[in-house]
């Protein structure tokens, strides 16, 4: 790590660098675009993956922290840039030309903080209506429901987006730009549509049956979790992790607990570590099973759902015995886990591992080799490795494109470094590869469970933690692996019992936004194949 700090300070003598594990470099806004280009293109650095953009309101000024990762060296750095201009119109240069995913992330920051990004081709709100008053994540946001009432009136929509640029004399100019061309035929798909997997909406421009462009319209389940977290104490924030990507409930819980423990300097027992990892992997199997089932159902193979839900139910039973719930487990807590394992946990897991291979074989027999399935999946929705990185597509979808992005390997955490499992990476990059990748991951997860099931050490399941947990002032960033990809959390604490800012960078937002890129030129029927294969969860997109 010292190495990277040195390199950075040599390249950017004007920047200040702090932090040990994840160095954070502060750069003036005027230089940010050039610095960003160097960070991405310099052969020694090659920060080609933009993990997330954290919008921040430090009350006296607004700004962003960009988290970048180099896929070669597995190093994460942060770059802090303060916005220029008044609070009424703070501006930052856009980096959308360097990382494709930045278009969406910058829109999100604009929506929440009102920071305008110059030269971003699509500077609209992302989750909230165009008539929304105020920027909700600012500290001085007025939450009065009378300002933004619940209304049954259809929201106002526009066919235009804005591009902000700086003219030669330094003024900011706003230019409207058409989202769709005037003569384009636009079909609306969603938000109430069985194949969008939740309330997501695609405004699709079509030419006959060929897709020309998709405008992804989210926010139909935007629940404002990040803002809510700022009003709750640390242990209270945990339960939201169950309700974003509800299939990765355990994994997300694990991630947030780990971050709090890191910040508070709490060491947890080995028993708790093992239990957490086992729960994570059980969740992964259940999640992938449900993916296979619903995906096949989207494609018309309804039977598969019944086969895959059988395994899922078995896993839910195991979880229920220990956690007491079927979906919103709230099991991991700061210091370990809520309660000890159920007495027959080990037997149940063994029973599951026993039936799993036969089930997988059955899935393959029914679906994978099927001619119809192969025709519909193979070669459809191709995503290259470069695009996967630039669009920030992590998880099985990214690995199907040949990008080894498993955070369990890249940013090892908990007991994963000791475990023997393989990262499933495929090169085809089509829908079939994404499907198969998940199939194989089930096997790998089973392998992890096999290693652990007989080796759960004795000890306490939860260490003593102060009732009112206070974290020292500071900031932390961490990336872990959920069931659908890299889950990043940024935490800033001001020393109180509540987070000052908690940013949840979920894997599904980029996955939904890449749909436009992948589907261009494909047939409209393939939209379902492609969208399904990316396996996004809409509450995870919107949070």
């Amino acid at each position: 790590m010292a190495n990277i700090t040195e390199k950075l300070s040599k390249l950017f003598p004007q920047a200040t660098i702090e932090g040990e594990n994840t160095p954070v470099m502060t750069v003036p806004a005027a230089q940010w675009h050039d610095v960003a280009r160097t960070l991405r293109d310099n052969v020694e650095l090659k920060f080609d993956y933009l993990v997330t953009i954290v919008g921040m309101d430090w009350t006296e000024n607004l700004g962003c922290i960009y988290y970048l990762m180099s896929t070669d060296a597995d190093i994460i750095i942060g770059v802090k840039v303060l916005a220029e201009g008044e609070r009424s119109m703070p501006v930052l240069p856009s980096v959308a030309d360097l990382w494709n995913v930045a278009v969406t992330y910058e829109r999100e920051v604009y929506d929440f903080f009102g920071i305008v990004f110059l030269n971003n081709p699509d500077m609209r709100r992302l989750f909230l209506n165009i008539d929304w008053k105020g920027f909700p994540l600012r500290k001085d946001y007025d939450e009065d429901p009378a300002l933004n009432p619940v209304s049954t009136e259809s929201e106002r929509q526009t066919d235009f987006t804005d591009v902000y640029t700086r003219s030669d004399d330094g003024k900011i100019v706003k230019t409207p730009r058409r989202i769709f061309e005037k003569e384009e035929f636009v079909v609306n798909i969603g938000p109430q549509h069985p194949a969008t997997h939740g309330v997501l909406r695609f405004r699709t421009a079509v030419d006959g049956e060929t897709i020309k462009k998709i405008d992804v319209y989210c926010g139909y389940i935007h629940r404002g979790i990040e803002k809510l977290c700022e009003t709750l104490t640390y242990p209270q924030t945990l339960h939201f992790m169950d309700r974003m990507d509800y299939f990765s409930a355990q994994n997300y819980h694990h991630a947030l607990c780990m971050l709090y423990e890191k910040a508070a300097g709490i060491e947890i027992s080995r028993r708790a570590q093992v239990i957490r990892v086992m729960m994570d992997e059980l969740s992964r199997i259940a999640s992938h099973c449900l993916f296979i089932g619903t995906y096949c159902m989207d494609l018309g193979a309804t039977t598969m759902l019944f086969y895959t839900l059988r395994v899922r139910e078995q896993i839910l039973d195991i979880m229920e015995k220990t956690c007491g719930a079927r979906m919103t487990f709230n099991y991991d807590c700061i210091g370990g886990v809520m309660q000890d394992l159920a007495p027959d946990f080990q037997d149940d897991v063994k029973a599951l591992l026993k039936v799993l291979p036969a089930n997988l074989k059955e899935y393959n027999d029914i679906f994978t080799g099927n001619v119809i399935a192969r025709n519909r999946l193979e070669g459809v929705g191709h995503l290259t490795r470069e695009d996967a990185i630039s669009y920030g597509i992590t998880g099985p979808s990214g690995r199907a494109s040949g990008w080894a992005c498993d955070m369990r390997k890249l940013q090892p955490y908990s007991i994963y470094p000791e475990l023997d499992f393989e990262e499933v990476v495929m090169t085809e990059g089509d829908s079939m590869a994404r499907f198969k990748c998940r199939m194989k991951e089930i096997e790998e997860s089973a392998k992890i469970l096999e290693q652990l099931v007989d080796n759960i050490p004795d000890g306490e399941y939860c260490v003593k933690v102060p009732k009112m947990l206070k974290l020292p002032a500071g900031s932390w960033f961490q990336v872990t692996e959920g069931c659908r990809g890299a889950f990043g959390i940024y935490l800033e604490s001001d020393g109180s019992t509540k987070p000052y800012r908690l940013k949840l960078a979920t894997p599904c937002l980029p996955q939904a936004c890449v749909v436009d890129h992948i589907t261009r030129g494909q047939k409209i029927a393939d939209l379902i194949t492609i969208g399904g294969s990316l396996d996004y969860i809409v509450p995870d997109i919107d949070r």
């Binding site: 989750f127 909230l128 009136e153 109430q192």
Partner: protein, 202 residues
């Protein structure tokens, strides 16, 4: 009169006073025998094949999926025909959070359901906003948007609870009157008049 459905023993219901009160209210106006038997026939048919609209916004919806699978198998009760179009569905299982942006869409879906139509508020989010009640972008319960027939509490409700909820609905349908008497439709009209869609003039 003991109103029950799907061979549930009458004593097993937890809210018999409510249904008895409802029946009494309905019968106050009195009905003639022919119309009464016609009602019974229609209600028997309707209460045994209520079709849901596939409408799920978040976590609760996944439990609804489990309901469709082999283990909880709602096909046992004639509810398995989940329709994707509101025009073909009888009731709406509102499973999940309803946020500001979704409200107009949700209301339109409700308006598009064909009569007679019913709504089940499933899960604490639909009932009150649930864990997100204090959020700036969440509707605090769907009761202000559409008339609700049955509430199923839980976060998410267990599939068994959902089954119980839909059975409650089917029981309510059993005592309804479509000819004369206090008609459900009138109550609905009252509600809709009290909660008009803003910005639309008739």
């Amino acid at each position: 009169m003991e109103v029950t459905t799907k061979s549930m023993p009458y004593e097993a219901w937890k809210d018999n006073e409510y249904i008895e009160k409802l029946v009494k209210e309905l019968q106050e106006s009195g009905t003639n025998v022919v119309v009464g038997s016609l009602d019974k026939l229609i209600n028997w048919g309707r209460s045994n094949s209520i079709w849901p609209l596939t409408f799920a916004t978040s976590c609760c919806g996944i439990e609804f999926v489990s309901l469709g699978a082999a283990r909880f198998d709602m096909a046992r009760f004639g509810w398995e025909v989940a329709r994707s179009s509101p025009r073909q569905a009888d009731f709406m299982m509102v499973a999940g959070t309803i946020v500001h942006r979704m409200v107009p869409v949700f209301r339109r879906l409700y308006d598009q359901l064909a009569e007679p139509k019913y709504v089940i508020a499933c899960g604490s989010c639909a009932i009150s906003g649930g864990p997100f009640r204090k959020s700036y972008h969440v509707a605090k319960g769907i009761e202000d948007i559409v008339p609700v027939d049955v509430f199923v509490p839980g976060c998410p409700p267990r599939p068994e609870a959902m089954i119980y909820g839909i059975m409650q609905l089917s029981r309510k349908i059993k005592v309804e009157k479509f000819f004369g008497g206090v008609n459900r439709q009138e109550k609905q009209k009252e509600f809709l008049a009290a909660h008009p869609i803003e910005g639309v003039e008739d």
